[in-house]
Point group: D2
Chain length 312, copies 4
């Protein structure tokens, strides 16, 4: 089939390539003329024969919104827009409404795969009517991994991004699981080769997984991760996962802990721990600033909230 | 080689079978005469030619301790004891000392594999001196999975059980990750087929893993898990993981949250939430007992800590 | 001064009384004619001499919005609206804009005090311009407690509700702190009188507080809280606190844990723990449904992820 | 009455003074001769007339153990030892057994009060038999605050330290509650005077408490706590609280979060977050080391696990 693809960055560029390998025609547009097939969105739409399918692969929020707005003007009734970016699921219903008023269909699609997607395929989760999904199914089939799994029609409009968001929430907590375990092993006197422990876990264990394989790869290039700072960005999807849980009164302790750990990792100093230090100083006369002089549990360990004397 | 194996339950029985398939001689003892090869521990020791290797596969704590005590009396200098049970790593040093006083070696070995181990092999993490480990290496090689991975000499005495303990801590948090994600998906209006979303994740995603495969199997037999109670036991190893983290001042929020979720799952009613209800009643006059009449956020939602009036 | 008060429920009715005791004139309107001073919002506005101050004390969300909409039509330039309900701080800016277009001022005010406010005074946190705040200051002074503290001009429009929201977030976590401590004490064999421990803490300790006093009162009427279910509603403000933290990348582990504990308390059974049970069953053959037969750590304790045999 | 007091440090010295003000005779011993009344433990015991009561106020663990050991040799049947230090409750039973073998009684006593205790009194929680407690009651009465509350016979031997430990656990979580709220308020654009918000909360609110008063004092000396590092020591009691909870299968999410926040505050860099960064790099090609160049959500925000292109 024929597909218009808007956004040819790290993800979109590779997706164009994989769809073409699947035997389809892709006309790609990007603001960067060096990588674009056409010079404008108008030209993109004009070069597709109807009914058209245009896949939007641009940053969520303002960029996606303006692209949808433009497409609503340029496309014709019976055409279809797919939002394959990382939009918040709450945006999907709005985009669907806006396009429906013009007779244009809408499918949202969460895409996972990163830099591995071109060769291994992209995991796809999409939402929309069966009719709309059918129009883009050949492209889904080209993008997905070759095996039995890797793509799903998750439900109504919004379900694709919701499912992808939850995937990322799970991913956060799984990464945190391995990270906590790694730090604990590294802290143990008896364990002399943490990397080999991780390596061994790749077979026969309950925790074998792709993330474990990646952890081993990372440790192979830097056994104690000394070249890295313990600093982790977070994508909007982790935040949205927690917000969706709050909306639905679902307790999400492990995923939320993982998100908060990332927040903390980005603070040079922790305001809340300054307050803890200040309070300890107020009631206990605990030394608070000479932090460089204290040991494991602080200057007043053990049992220091009422600091015991040096007696006996 | 020749191995004495003490404890032929669900794990030990299968391990005997797998070691024998590996071409070794196993003489097994169990209190249950129907499954034992010999009638007593004395007989077991007597039927092995020295230097002997005896693998202990009995419940951690008192049963393991008494078995080690007996073996310390029965074995000879140069013999070796392997503790393959789920002992706490802090027991290993004690057992090693006790046996060393008699000239007997000691290796601790954490074993993962459950009911799948007989066919797929057992993941093994062991600790001890290189010399002691070498004596039992052929058995490790018979038990482990066939691939490149699945067994590791993790470090000194205690390192095997420590590594296995951390494996289980990671496992707790990974299970919790999927469980939270599943509950959130089930709570979403737009997602109409949660099981198919999970199934699709088995390829191309960041979270593909053996636990995900198992989740799909579970959902295939009971799509909404309606036959189960939300009740989860915990093994000692989850608890020990958190205690080890506390000893080493390692923050472990996701693993600990997973442990606490299991604690809560086993309470018919939550004492701490009774106290929350009591306090709300004290300061706000909130209804506390007519819980069956309240909705999502309770009778006084929204914004109920200072209950707004019915005005306007 | 003269005040119009919309909403005469549990909070508004008592506030009317306290403002009147402060020597001011209050004309109250409520949909319930039995408690209202006037029959309609129009009548309320008509009976105030300008410049008018109208305090809105109705449920947040739709009721507050419609009241603000009506007042925007009824009031005149130079008048002032105070929103004293539990509105989300993000609504305040919208309400201020809407009223400003008509020349009407706006102040948001978070109110704490519950059933104790009439006698002890209400803690007030308000946001808005100095000019607008000055217009309602006499009413704030009448409502607040008699001591030096209890009211604050927290900042711009929205700051009052934001501060009140954070107050409630802190409150959640403080309640949870006492609740956790109480459950732990109740679980200890050695502690024979938990209530007296709580009572004793009311002097000389670091944790003495009004919430502790309330806990003692609650225990005095029901020593083990046996008449209560461990079920806790949550107001919107706890949820909004966590959402605000996510917006600002502030880690909030204790407050969020308190919110999630309330979510869990309202579930008859936990979906996520069903998934944990299902996974345990898949990999370990753990019994999952015969939960009534298991003890503290479950049937397979200790160390049950690889269930040890009964051997030795 | 007459009391021997071992340990005259920051706590013990002030306690000696307060007990003397209560009209009792205190003979104090400390390793530091400048502050001691007698030159040795033998001299201390010799100068007391029987039946003797000796209060031990030295660091928990080895120092307390050796003092108890020495007193077991020096004292006579019918004498009594009080451990007023921050011993772990699990030590109490052992000390009681050891002394009982010599006919010597034992009472454990948790003491709260810090630098404020001399003037305001010390909160006391003690455990032991009614007979033993009666022997030291006059000293308890002298030490406690003057009001109705502040001391409690919590239960059997160990109950005093257990109750004090839980007090400290609650204290951790209450401090964390205020700290989280403070950081969130400081992060809000609309709130222009966080210190005044905290000050106002001291009356009329649900969260009024001594810790809040201390927070206001701290902010009065350093409005944004700029002179402090966000670094907090922890006493053994916070750790023991979590361990006791694990022993009793009590979920303790807020208290544990507070403990972990302290652990994290003492890490120059977080090993676990290095692993998170490493994993993100592996699957997404996320920049990990150029952390100084990234903004709020990192270089790849928004929605960065599948980094969107620069398109449209």
């Amino acid at each position: 089939m024929e597909l218009g693809l808007v956004g040819l960055g790290k993800m979109g560029g590779n997706m164009r390539e994989r769809i073409r390998r699947g035997g389809h025609t892709v006309i790609g547009y990007d603001r960067n003329p060096d990588i674009a097939d056409v010079g404008s969105l108008e030209e993109l739409v004009g070069s597709l024969s109807g009914p058209r399918v245009v896949w939007v692969m641009v940053p969520s929020g303002a960029a996606t919104q303006s692209t949808v707005d433009e497409l609503a003007e340029l496309l014709s009734p019976g055409d279809l827009v797919v939002d394959g970016g990382n939009s918040r699921w709450t945006d999907d219903e709005k985009h669907a409404e806006e396009l429906k008023a013009k007779g244009i269909g809408f499918v949202d699609c969460g895409v996972s795969g990163g830099v591995w997607g071109l060769e291994n395929g992209y995991a796809l989760m999409y939402g929309g009517s069966a009719e709309d999904v059918a129009k883009v199914q050949p492209v889904f089939d080209a993008l997905k991994p070759e095996g039995k799994f890797g793509s799903v029609h998750a439900g109504k409009v919004g379900a694709g991004h919701f499912a992808k968001m939850v995937h990322n929430g799970i991913e956060y907590a799984m990464m945190q699981s391995f990270a906590e375990g790694w730090e604990l092993l590294e802290s143990a006197d008896s364990v002399t080769d943490v990397r080999e422990v991780f390596r061994s876990w790749q077979e026969g264990t309950v925790i074998r997984s792709w993330l474990l394989d990646l952890a081993v790869k990372a440790l192979d290039s830097d056994e104690h991760l000394e070249a890295l700072r313990g600093y982790a960005a977070d994508s909007g999807e982790g935040r949205w996962t927690v917000e969706a849980a709050i909306d639905n009164a679902v307790p999400l302790p492990a995923i939320t802990a993982s998100l908060f750990a990332r927040f903390s990792s980005r603070q040079d100093d922790s305001p809340q721990m300054k307050m803890i230090a200040a309070l300890r100083n107020q009631f206990g006369g605990h030394a608070v600033t000479a932090a460089d002089k204290v040991g494991e549990m602080g200057a007043d360990a053990p049992g220091a909230d009422v600091t015991p004397p040096t007696g006996g």
